[in-house]
Symmetry: C2
Subunit: 231 residues, 2 copies
C-alpha cells in the first residue's frame, strides 16, 4: 500500500484540528448572535438561556451528525471507486494504460516518455489501482474511525464554544447587563480562538484573530438588529 508522504504536512493540524475549528467557530458565533439578538427583544435572561441551550443542542447535533455522514459518505465513495478501479485494471488494462499515458500528456509528456511508468504499473496491479485512485481520481484512503471521531469532535467543540457566550445570561438576571458581559467575553474568546486557528492552519494569526472576531460580531449585530426590529 503506497503512502502519501506530503499531504499531512500541509494541513499542519490535521483532521482533528479542522473538526474543532468547524465546531467551535459556529458554536461561538451562532449562540452568541442568537442570545444578543434575543436580549434586544426580551428583558428576562431565562428566555435567552432557554433559546440558547436549545440552539446549542440543535446546532451541535445537526453539525455533529452532518460531519458523521459526510465522513461516512467519503468512505463509501472511496470504497466504490476502489472496487471500480480494480475491475477496470483487471478487465480493461489497455484502456487504463492509455489513461495513465493521458495523465502525463496533460503535463506535456509524450507517450514515449511515460511508457516506462505505464509498463512498470502494469506489472504491479495493486499498486496500479492505488496510483489511479490518487492520480486519476484524486482520492485518498479515508481513516475508517474518522466518522465517529469527527462527529464527537465537532459536536463537543460546538457545545464548548456555545457555553462561552451563554454563561453571562445564566449567571446574571438582567438581559442588558448579560449582553454587555457576553459581548466582551465572546469577542475575547473569538480573538483567542482565531489566533490559535491561524497558528494551527498556517494563516497569519493576527489576521485570523481579527477575521474571526469580525464574523462573530457581524453575525451578532445582524441578529440583534433583526430581533429588535420585529419585537
Amino acid at each position: 500500500m503506497p503512502t502519501i508522504p506530503h499531504i499531512e504536512q500541509h494541513f499542519t493540524g490535521g483532521a482533528t484540528v479542522r473538526d474543532i475549528v468547524i465546531g467551535m467557530s459556529d458554536g461561538l458565533t451562532v449562540p452568541f448572535a442568537l442570545a444578543a439578538g434575543l436580549s434586544g427583544a426580551v428583558a428576562a435572561t431565562s428566555i435567552v438561556v432557554t433559546a440558547g441551550l436549545a440552539e446549542i443542542a440543535a446546532g451541535s447535533i445537526a453539525m455533529g451528525l452532518g460531519g458523521y455522514l459526510a465522513a461516512r459518505s467519503d468512505a463509501e465513495h472511496y470504497a466504490s471507486e476502489l472496487e471500480r478501479e480494480r475491475l477496470e485494471v483487471r478487465d480493461q488494462a489497455a484502456a487504463e494504460a492509455d489513461e495513465v499515458s493521458q495523465i502525463f500528456q496533460t503535463y506535456g509528456l509524450s507517450a514515449a516518455e511515460s511508457q516506462q511508468v505505464v509498463l512498470g504499473l502494469r506489472e504491479r496491479p495493486e499498486a496500479w489501482v492505488q496510483f489511479m485512485m490518487r492520480f486519476e481520481l484524486g482520492l485518498e484512503a479515508p481513516d475508517p474511525r474518522r466518522a465517529l471521531r469527527s462527529a464527537v469532535t465537532i459536536a463537543g467543540s460546538y457545545i464548548a464554544g456555545g457555553f462561552i457566550p451563554l454563561a453571562p445570561y445564566m449567571l446574571l438576571a438582567d438581559a442588558q447587563m448579560a449582553l454587555y458581559v457576553s459581548v466582551v467575553v465572546t469577542l475575547f474568546a473569538l480573538v483567542l480562538f482565531g489566533y490559535g486557528k491561524g497558528r494551527f492552519t498556517g494563516a497569519p494569526p493576527i489576521r485570523s484573530a481579527l477575521q474571526t472576531a469580525v464574523i462573530g460580531g457581524l453575525a451578532a449585530a445582524a441578529a440583534f438588529a433583526i430581533a429588535r426590529a420585529i419585537s
Copy 2:
C-alpha cells in the same frame, strides 16, 4: 480553514451543489429544532418567531462568512505553495527530481522506470510545477471567484431552508399548533431535500432522504427535550 482539495471533483454536482447542501441542511435543521425546542417552553409564537429570525440571521451570516474565508484561505494556500514550488523547481531542480522519483517509488516503480518522466518534466519547468502541485501536494487550482459565490450560495440556502420550519409560527398564533404543522412541513422538506441531495451527490436517494430526516428529527427532539426540561 483549509478544506481537503480533492473532494470537489467527485461531488458530481460540483461546488455550487455542495454549498447549497451545506447551507440548506443546517438551515432546515437548526431553526426547526430551535423553534420546536422553544415551543416546548413558551406559549406565544412571537418569541419563537423572534428567536427563529435571529437564528436565521446569525446562522446564515456565520456560515456564509465562514465559507467565504474558507475559500479565500484555500486560494491563498494554493498561491503560496505554488510560489514555493516554482522556487524549488528553479533553484533545487535535482532535489525536486528526486522527489518525483520518490513519488513513483511509493507505487513500487524503480528509479529507472520513472527516469523518462523525470527527464521529461525537467525539460518543461512550468508543467513540472503543476505536476508537483497536484502529485506531490495534492492541491488543485481554486477558482478565484469561488469565495464570494460560495458565501452567497451558503447564506441564501440557509435562509431559504430556515424559513420553511419557521413559516407556521409566523402564520399561526398558537405555538403548539404551529409546532405540529412545522414538524410535518419540515420533515417533508427534509425528505425532499435529502432525496435531491442523494440524486446530485450519487448517494442512494432513499437512504439519503431518510438520513436527512433523521438528523433533523434528532436535533429537534434534543432541543425540544432540553428547552422543556429547563422551562
